[in-house]
Symmetry: D3
Subunit: 229 residues, 6 copies
């Protein structure tokens, strides 16, 4: 049986929105290096940087019917996250669906498959992260689930989780941890700002992070050229 789960919980709006100030790499580190989607999930134009609440959607291979169902479940501030039930690069999504999502306040699309109308989506400034850009059309025959937990591009996504996406890819933050991860992202960014200043001034990471002793203990040797290995 396929279901559409309604009235899903979302994280606090201020928290969700604040994530758009932090890059995917920062958020990923802040939550302990978990939650990244696969490296093949790429933005269709750059730069792009959004955060929002996940509405999840399964689709059959070559069949985009459930995306239409999912649109109705979206609220302003959401990001639609779509995955096929088996691997597919067809163009499930184009400018008409983008117009529909924009009308409902959706901030972007995470599509573990292909999209089309890439030039128009770029002009519309509707950000999309996808596996492929491909014009191949899809049918409307097979139902699947909306707003159930899904595995998308190697990541587990629950409806209402926070999605952060930028030029580096996509990271998922579980809803319950959102506030904590946001605070840690802020702390990390502040700490990095100081390190960045020191590195820009020419100091070495070797010294800032104190690596020299541990490297020597591991057996690293410094030799002069020519070296016979």
């Amino acid at each position: 049986m396929s279901v559409v789960v309604q009235n899903i919980p979302r994280a606090d709006k201020a928290v969700v929105d604040a994530f758009s100030s932090y890059g995917v790499a920062t958020v990923h580190e802040a939550q302990g290096r978990v939650g990244l989607l696969a490296s093949y999930m790429r933005p269709i134009y750059r730069p792009a940087h959004i955060s929002g609440s996940a509405v999840t959607c399964e689709v059959a291979p070559g069949d985009n019917w459930m995306i239409h169902v999912a649109v109705e479940q979206c609220q302003p501030g959401d990001i639609l996250v779509v995955t096929p039930t088996s691997a597919c690069e067809d163009g499930y999504f184009g400018d008409l669906l983008a117009a529909s999502l924009i009308a409902h306040g959706v901030r972007g699309l995470i599509m573990n498959a292909g999209v089309r109308d890439a030039a128009v989506l770029t002009e519309m400034k509707f950000p999309v992260w996808s596996k492929a850009i491909y014009a191949q059309g899809t049918v409307k025959e097979t139902i699947a689930n909306v707003n159930t937990p899904i595995v998308c591009a190697g990541g587990l996504v629950h409806p209402g989780d926070v999605v952060v996406a930028d030029d580096d890819g996509v990271v998922i933050v579980p809803r319950e941890k959102a506030a904590d991860v946001l605070a840690k992202s802020k702390a990390r960014e502040e700490k990095e700002e100081k390190t960045r200043a020191r590195l820009s001034a020419g100091e070495l990471g070797l010294d800032i992070y104190g690596f020299r002793e541990r490297l020597a203990a591991k057996g690293l040797k410094y030799v002069d050229y020519p070296y016979k290995g």
Copy 2:
């Protein structure tokens, strides 16, 4: 035996040119979801959007000799479509060949292999769709066919077929069907314009397309969160 077929037929120029107003996704749908080349055929710069008549060219792996032969068969308004006789990513084509094609009025290149001088081609505004960007040079030793039917990136291309290419990829329209597919592309675009307006106004595809009843008949259920799947 390898041959160069001369004096190929082409579709009506007005028809060929008019296709550049329609995106690859639209044309692909208009002709019944056929004729797309593989999703790995990507433009070397974006945006890019052209239509033209196909001149087809086979090349041996790592050997671009026949491209020089094909140039002579090109006329203004043509698009050169090249495929190796076995898979190869070498850089068969660069700025010199582009200069030559431009001099003969060719609108772009579809290359099921690699190209090089990508920065110069971009500056020249000579659009190319290819499998790879790669500097690897090629030899001139082995002959093959020009203007015979070829399979290029999964698609069958006859000389004189209409090629349409944009940011979504490449679609081939058989010469004999060009006028019909053009008319259908125009009709589709007009219909989509109306749908786009309704979707932008917030109407749901579920209602515009009347999907609700059929979804229910398939067994789709709406449930409230929390749902135990």
Copy 3:
């Protein structure tokens, strides 16, 4: 045992710098069609074009510790070339390490793995050629070699070799051959300039290069459409 080789030789600075006037395809041809890295090594932004002296660095999979060690070995005009000891797409390098390299006059990064903070690196105008853009973080646990010969993306790189990188990819010129290859690059460019002018004027490569006789000898036939193959 892992080593850091210090005081490596470099090619003459004027030679190294002069390579930035020649594209990767030209240099690759000038040195006899050798020295290219694999086609998957792509610039994170375009256009980009640099030349410099290689500092080589091995890293363990998922471990960027040695990049910090390598920074200390870099001088103004260098390009850092990094390869993992087994294939990996993790994000070994981001904006902090870029700030550090910039502070030491490094011109760019060749990374046979992933990088992150792509948007910031683009804003900083720090050019990177990599296998992937991916936010995945790395650890600092395992040592490896700096400034020993490495195989990176299918190419052999010695410390002090000249690296040339542009939108077409990356080519390595052995230090001892740098002056010779530079001269040949210049000669090739001059010769191509003349050919380019003739091609742009509409002359055919078939005639400029005198291919017709050899093609006929190989058996190439010209036939009229319709041709039954």
Copy 4:
């Protein structure tokens, strides 16, 4: 923080064992076409067919330390399911670890990465499904979780879930649904047995399943050769 979760629940032993009578395709269908791992997970030798209870294990890229930790959590009848925290093909597992798992009654390994000693594992008749066979060695530096839920090759696996693996790949059955899915697998097999007999006797699926009317309603036409499409 990394944890090792002890004393995980397992499905009823009789149920777990009974699954080895049913192929992966059958079980996958019986539970509604969900739970398959990616198609790149292949057996290192064929035929192979096992069922067991999942012990889950995360590992860092290029680091097999946690497999040693996981062995202690295994019981007779278990199958060890290992995934790296980012994509890796290194040889995490060889004949020594196989000897250890066999000593603890483990039935096989599901490894979303590489394994080595393939010839010895084949002789030992220890079945493994993996992404690669590769001799590359790994370090022991970084900790991760054992017996927490993991995403492995696109599938969500909880400790104690039932794993079924054969020449077609790997399917995961949630522990709570194991008895139900087993019953449905049995029912499906019995039904298919009857269909198989009819098909082997020459009856057509078109007739057995009653497809003809629905195909005609969709618009399928029968025409005689030659047909001009």
Copy 5:
């Protein structure tokens, strides 16, 4: 519109059958190095070697409905050739469909997608060449064409063409050329038999084929070790 083309022509049975004495490499050479399907088309068990007449079948992604339609068009001595209308690795075909094909005298399957029940197909000795082995199930919702020309794995296949498949892959011989290609295959094999004997006796290809002079003319030099390149 989708069609099923009936009463297709086939090559002479004696010719079709005789091809099973010749390997794919031999037939490919005999017909001028054309007609091979892509290298990813692999037999599910080895050795396997068949020839037969092609019945062609398109399927939608994730939808195997049309295979049931195609079975009815098969005759003893046929080989079913199936391709999805966009790339897909789902398990379109298993032991039930194999039982049906066997009942109708079909000699094997060429599937540009996935198959399942690989262990049973192997026991049944029903040879299959496919892109993947994968248990993923398919639906029955979308119609497509049977016995129209298709592009399958990079090769053009007309219904009634001769298919030859062995451990090296799959080659297609156009029906009209079958007798000629068969004769050339036989001639090639006889010629190779003599060469094989000379090579096995220790003669060098350099001498048998008379390569030395042409190699020298190209500039090949023999030098003694150590050589400074």
Copy 6:
């Protein structure tokens, strides 16, 4: 200029031969986890296990001419190592060349491209490690080097290096280090034999290797199910 280097040095025959007693994984570990070729280099049949002295050979893409040249440089006990100058999967090598190599005492082939006649090579028991099995034929037009250092499948190979290949892949041992690596391989095997016995008796690696304390120091915690992560 292309050269054939004659009279290359080889390692001591007893040493070269003794390597065939040790698996690729063992040799790779014994020489410090270096020298492996890429994981895509797979044996065309299993099991297979050889050692020998490398004769290296470059070939142009789609051109196997230089293999004929290389045969003459081979001696009994050699292994031919071939790489194309740019990536290619064509079938460079078949049963005729195998017959020739066998006649000259060559033990096997390492081919960073495709091979054909796989069924016959298997019957002949001529072991091959390759990137692909593919019938695609090649030409004889372009010269390249024999017995110069090459990068093959990510590994650096000098003529006369020791090649060890088994079901896990291929490892290269520099000639000068062969005796030392052989000794270390033997030592490693003996040590592993003892560990294997203890593991087979049920002892845990955690205890044998003394990992518990270091794992705890890294922060690994043991918790009871249910655990809220």
